[in-house]
């Protein structure tokens, strides 16, 4: 998805692709780890063919890539390594922000006990 400019068609494809909750979920998953189409199909209450269709929509919008490996079709998020690192570090930051919130709550609970 590294693009300087999207044509109107491409923007349409992008928004259509992301307008569906299952497709958004697929993108979120394959940005974190690669999945086979059958692996993705296991995650949802729908047929392999339906998931394959979703993947095809995402592929046309350049949100994922699909590659054949043996009998499997492997789906990956279309991000380069740097973006992936940045995204993971962002998520790691969120883990720590939540931890700090919990610590703050624990310390606040103490202060109340003393009152």
């Amino acid at each position: 998805m590294v693009v300087d400019m999207l044509s109107e068609d491409e923007v349409d494809r992008l928004f259509q692709a992301l307008a569906d909750a299952t497709r958004r979920d697929i993108v979120a998953r394959v940005l974190i780890a690669e999945y086979s189409v059958s692996g993705l199909a296991e995650q949802y209450d729908m047929s392999f063919a339906a998931v394959q269709k979703h993947v095809a929509v995402l592929e046309r919008a350049s949100l994922v890539t699909k590659e054949r490996r043996g009998r499997e079709q492997i789906v990956r998020g279309q991000v380069d390594g740097v973006q992936k690192a940045r995204r993971l570090l962002d998520e790691y930051e969120e883990i720590w922000r939540q931890r700090v919130d919990r610590i703050t709550d624990i310390l606040a609970a103490d202060a109340q006990d003393e009152d």
Binding site: V2, D25, A28, L31, R87, L88, L89, E94, I95
Partner: protein
Amino acid sequence: MAVISTEKDIEALSFRLVAEFDAGVERVWRIWADPKQLERWWGPPTWPATFDAYEFEQGGRAAYYMTGPDGEKARGWWRITAVEPPYRLAFDDGFADENGDPVADLGETHATVTLEDMGGRTRMIMVTAFESLEQLNQMVEMGMEEGLKLALGQVDALLAEDASV
């Protein structure tokens, strides 16, 4: 606002967080030193952490697991490399298999926690260095509360970022 700042070094795969707490340094030290306190905040509510071993001394080991919503367990270990109460703690952190043995090929993270006395308040500086993207990935998946939901929000950010390139 407890978190004061965060810094991420993409190249070095490291993360630094500065937070301030409205409590004395001895008190904040206990959230690390006492495993019962640690259990209350290390894991998210949906993945609470349980420490079965906690040797809080230099060279000491800790073993813990986090229990997911479906009862699944993710195990980890720490090797404590420095304990200087109440100001400094350093430890290595990695994944463990179901027997609690380290999973070597997933690597380990190196964490350093420094507490600063600010006259009744405490500043905590936490630095974590990762060995590889895969490991950071695992860490995020294991420690993440509703990770996918968040990742989903980040798809938008990612797209906005790309659009502005």
